[in-house]
């Protein structure tokens, strides 16, 4: 269900000084996190609906909430995908997009089909998510410089190049 009320209510609860300062008991911290997570999930649908309406495209849209720790099932598994950047600021921005990928070479194009510079590099922090067991990172990161208009969005298409070997994610990474 698409609604922003769940997140609004969770944010209201999190105005309590314990949530702001982190002085709550552990089980309360867990509940704050749960409420915010529920709110975020409901808002994802709101964002997707808005982007469907604004862009008019028929892509299946996904949001990767674990992108901050370089996990995104879409970019790691698809040979072609689109990246949409919504800019909440009232000025044009430039942003370095970093997404986890399995392959070693990709083509990135803007909405007009113009190819952009991109760079693929091995992930660095990956080994730390394996409960302390060090292992050689097997997944790469794709970097490209994107821009977005004020309070608007831009779209980029990423395509895996031919001969680009894609490997499935190790199951424990996906679980984590």
């Amino acid at each position: 269900r698409a609604e922003s009320t769940v997140l609004r209510q969770a944010m209201a609860v999190a105005q309590h000084h314990d949530a702001v300062t982190g002085t709550e008991k552990q089980h309360v911290a867990n509940d704050y996190a749960w409420q915010l997570s529920r709110g975020w999930l409901a808002c994802e649908t709101v964002i997707k609906n808005a982007l469907y309406n604004l862009s008019g495209n028929t892509d299946k849209l996904s949001i990767c909430p674990l992108l901050n720790i370089s996990l995104c099932s879409v970019t790691e598994s698809e040979k072609q995908f689109r990246v949409m950047l919504y800019n909440p600021l009232g000025r044009e921005i430039a942003w370095n997009v970093r997404v986890p990928v399995q392959g070693r070479a990709y083509t990135v194009a803007n909405h007009a089909g113009k190819p952009l510079d991109s760079q693929v590099m091995p992930q660095f922090f990956l080994g730390l998510y394996h409960h302390g067991k060090s292992h050689k990172p097997s997944v790469n990161e794709l970097v490209f410089q994107a821009s977005a208009p004020p309070l608007g969005f831009s779209t980029y298409t990423v395509t895996s190049q031919k001969g680009n070997v894609a490997r499935p994610s190790p199951p424990q990474r996906v679980q984590h």
């Binding site: 990246v83 949409m84 919504y86 370095n96 660095f124």
Partner: protein
């Protein structure tokens, strides 16, 4: 190598090949050069002592000594250079790593750190900081933001409206950093922009520090009734990843740079990914 250098059009960072630590920063536009050493340290959380039973906990920051210990004096290095980004990857310990990046066209250096789970096998509470040491003559002054709006000048061991008797030499000089911590002299300003609210200070001239993670083993008797020892689903302490932006610029032009970057940190773009439906494909 003795020296490792990464650079873009605006900045150049030098790392000491022996210690693996950042050793200097140069603003290529203004020609400003500043030796900067950055490392991660930890304060040991107080268990209380004969003078005062107060422990370090969720409400109270009370390290047992004023000098933090380095997590490691050296970092293992890995360097990746490409057309869009050059980065130095530092491993300080199995639970503390960092990537220092210079993106093409960027006027700041990005420090992405990854800390946790903080070990407690020795039964010591740890409060982890990142610290930038420079030779800037800051005369006991530094700047912190007031909820991202006005920048306030702070002076060590001083309050503007009463005579301070500082009984906590570290905690008494810590201030909330909502987005920006800075220091300057006549020629240069060093500014740190955070991606979240943190505590920070300048414990000596030319030095800036930010607290990035804490794991403590005692309750601080202020009401929470638990030690600040948060664990994840796997029972281990929390792992935290975050970002600091470092600017070096003349004082006159620093605010404009860091303010715009701070705004973008706070309201970063939302990424949404689309996969083509079979029909449209």
């Amino acid at each position: 190598q003795e020296v490792i250098v990464i650079q873009n059009e605006h900045l150049q960072l030098t790392f000491n090949g022996t210690t693996g630590l950042l050793s200097s920063m140069k603003n290529l536009d203004s020609g400003l050069f500043l030796p900067v050493v950055q490392n991660f340290y930890w304060y040991q959380g107080s268990k209380g002592n004969a003078e005062n039973i107060q422990t370090s906990g969720a409400y109270i920051f009370r390290p047992n000594v004023s000098t933090p210990l380095p997590i490691s004096p050296k970092a293992q290095l890995d360097v990746v250079k490409g057309r869009l980004v050059e980065e130095v990857r530092q491993t300080f310990s199995p639970w503390c790593q960092q990537v220092v990046r210079l993106y093409q066209g960027s006027r700041h250096a990005e420090f992405e750190w990854h800390v946790g789970s903080i070990p407690i096998v020795d039964h010591l509470g740890r409060e982890i900081i990142t610290r930038f040491d420079t030779p800037l003559r800051t005369k006991g002054l530094f700047l912190t933001d007031a909820n991202g709006r006005e920048m306030l000048t702070r002076r060590r061991n001083f309050r503007p409206t009463w005579k301070l008797n500082n009984s906590e030499p570290v905690a008494g000089n810590y201030y909330p950093i909502t987005s920006t911590l800075a220091m300057k002299d006549e020629k240069a300003q060093v500014t740190l922009v955070t991606d979240r609210s943190q505590g920070g200070s300048s414990m000596k001239d030319g030095s800036l520090e930010l607290m990035i993670h804490r794991r403590l083993l005692f309750d601080d008797f202020r009401g929470v009734g638990e030690a600040l020892n948060e664990t994840g689903a796997n029972g281990q302490g929390l792992t935290i990843r975050g970002r600091h932006l470092l600017f070096l610029a003349p004082p006159d032009s620093s605010a404009r740079l860091s303010r715009l970057a701070g705004e973008l940190q706070l309201s970063e773009p939302q990424l949404v990914f689309g996969t083509l439906h079979k029909k449209s494909r």
